[in-house]
Subunit: 432 residues, 2 copies
């Protein structure tokens, strides 16, 4: 059988991980693929000392790879929207299959890229774009093909999960743990993408499209970061039987698709509440299968390379045949449902209301909740901390429309007895 | 595009689940498949009132399905080794692709069946044979294709996990919970297959072959059941920071492949230690990806049907093309390593030694361990229980060759001070 030739663009973290795993395990990879596959060409600005590129063609021009008549599959591991987008579109135009780990590119420009690929009859594979080494795209698009997905929820940013895990385990505060995460290399110098939920929203956008058969709509995703979570909130949540996780949630409702990333209280007995450190997990609820969960490393050179190579093998099986799985899981759209505005989403809430330590406060708070038709499910009221005047009042509520909760919070904050902005964290039962 | 025609043999639990999910979600399934698929024929001894078969051909002769020239894919959901094997081989001989949920058939006769299929150029798909609705075969065979698998460990029998979960949560004993499991329909009237580990060994045999590229060797699997686990053992393990799970473990070592199902102590902080009730999970350690875990329902009509339909869609993509994933993951064998005898396996151990309450017992026990070069990692010695004369002495050991442990246990049981056979439960750290 004629070998499938792969051109690799980028030798950074994921590029070098892919190159080294591929060459280390090449014999078994070809036995599993059932055909010979080889990396013939590498494009990189500079060589990576961890990669022995002596037996491949090396260039600093990615377009030499995309236009190489011997190359069957182009692998884009450069990242970002600039050269990465140009090279993916050029590879498609030249009739190459493409493999990419670029979540931002797929979430933002995927509709255009997949259209170009379908017109040209080639495949763009992107398993490594979501949850690193976990084969979640394959599970969702192929393994759960029989199901109407009701909802899915994921811990899909390792940096954020590391920070929240440390805050819980050691009572440390956000800024302190972030600094350590940066020193350990888990967080970037500018941590915005990770801690504000943008990276997670890229991944969630992709998962939502596959789950529900809707176009990629990253611009409609709601994102809220974890930088305002305090050790006190983590500890109150714990006392009530919950863990706080930075969760991506997407759900199909009659009115539309929920698409949101925010800190979330999850019952501690759910398996996903026990996913700690930099690890990722995605919980999917299908109408036939019920709940299934996929867990593993969401980043890392070789873990992400593992998914890149899985895509290379899948795509290699398509060279000279035609059996591709539709890019976003469906050969055509399944619903015209819109993505919901966050105000139209219904969830339970954790509220921390810092109050003056005086008579009648609880009655006033309860009055506001009652006017908003918000049912209270649990309350903790503490003594003032040593040297503090305020008392924190913790409420858990039944599910309520976010719009109503926003109105209630405005009223709460207008009370004389309430001394600070109200802290509000959404809750998910994740029970089907 | 010409529709792919499916003939379904068997309308029991999994057959009816498959039939009903397929018809409920047929529009989306075909959109995901990118081609029309339909169930045209059903073979069943008797009709199932939950299935509306009015628009399909119904027969009581499975060979009418395997020989129907219009049928492209034959689905075997009858179970057992008799008619199921005959119909699978007849379908292959007639050039049909086959989908089956029959773990016993694949584990015991899979080598013969896959050989026949490969000679005929057809595919036999069996996702539903392992861990019900969890797409573990796909994850291992395709998603982790880049990896050398080091080991995998699974909770792959829901009945056993339900029993152990209840024993832990409520301090109940084995026989009591088994009776309830039988009333709930989680356990068969004859529970041997489940509680003695035979069902789990069928599934583990299949996973081991895919992980390591070895032939199916069910007859070499070591199985030990959970019927001798006592509430006291569960509670001592808990005190030491462990949970007892009925685990299937397969691992590649220099000398051979470990293939074993037995009760196992797992550190409670591992995610898999927190998989409870009838749910299943498989933890896979690959050299590139590290640890990944797959979790969900291991049985049930629609959950198992979910996997059967995923296979139907995969196989439908192959009709008129050729891109099949090798049956056991590899196009040819990757190793001639033998399956190890359980005596050649190295693990840590939990030992419960019931002793007379007298001076010098601990010294004698320690002497036996020392002679066997067995390092003790933790000890609990309790007061005798109210009205009891014996004291249980609990030891955790460092990893040691099973043969040496067996010798030590013989010596321990020969001590005058030891009053009962020693209880021995293997331990797995599951940390890479």
């Amino acid at each position: 059988m004629k070998p499938v030739n792969v051109g690799l663009c980028g030798l950074g973290t994921v590029g070098s991980g892919t190159f080294n795993v591929f060459n280390r395990n090449i014999d078994d990879i070809c036995r599993r693929a059932g055909r010979p596959i080889r990396i013939t060409t590498v494009a990189a600005k500079s060589l990576n000392p961890s990669c022995d590129t002596s037996s491949v063609t090396v260039t600093d021009d990615v377009f030499k790879v995309t236009r190489d008549p011997e190359v069957d599959v182009v692998v884009e591991l450069i990242g970002g929207y600039g050269i990465a987008k140009d090279l993916v579109l050029d590879a498609i135009a030249n009739g190459k299959h493409v493999v990419t780990a670029n979540k931002a590119l797929i979430a933002v420009h995927g509709n255009e890229i997949f259209k170009a690929a379908e017109e040209k009859g080639v495949t763009v594979a992107y398993e490594a774009a979501v949850a690193g080494g976990i084969p979640i795209i394959k599970a969702l698009r192929e393994g759960l093909v029989a199901n109407q997905v009701n909802w899915l929820a994921g811990i899909i940013n390792g940096t954020g999960n590391f920070i929240l895990t440390e805050m819980r385990d050691k009572g440390r505060d956000f800024a302190d743990v972030l600094k350590e995460a940066q020193e350990l290399g888990y967080a970037e110098a500018d941590p915005t993408f990770d801690v504000e939920g943008i990276d997670a929203a890229h991944k969630l956008t992709i998962l939502a499209s596959i789950a529900f058969g809707i176009p990629l709509q990253f611009e409609k995703a709601y994102t809220e970061g974890i930088s305002k979570i305090t050790p006190a909130d983590v500890s109150y949540a714990e006392e009530l039987g919950y863990r706080i996780k930075h969760l991506g949630v997407t759900r199909k409702t009659e009115k539309g698709i929920e698409l949101r990333v925010h800190p979330t209280l999850i019952p501690e007995k759910r398996l996903i509440a026990n996913v700690n450190g930099v690890l990722n997990a995605v919980l999917v609820e299908g109408d036939a299968v019920g709940p299934t969960m996929y867990y593993g490393p969401g980043a890392g050179d070789e873990a992400t390379g593992s998914s890149v190579i899985a895509d290379i093998v899948d795509v290699a099986r398509e060279v000279e045949t035609e059996h591709a799985v539709p890019h976003l899981g469906f050969a055509d759209r399944t619903t015209d449902l819109p993505v919901l505005d966050i105000e139209d989403v219904v969830t339970g809430y954790y509220l921390r209301i810092d109050c003056k330590d005086e008579v009648g406060v609880m009655a006033k708070v309860a009055q506001v909740m009652s006017e908003g038709e918000i049912n209270i499910e649990a309350i903790i009221q503490k003594e003032p901390a040593e040297g503090e005047k305020d008392v924190p009042l913790i409420l858990l509520t039944q599910p309520v429309l976010e719009k109503n909760m926003n109105d209630a919070i405005v009223k709460l904050e207008a009370l004389d007895a309430v001394t600070n902005p109200v802290t509000r964290i959404r809750m998910e039962a994740l029970d089907g």
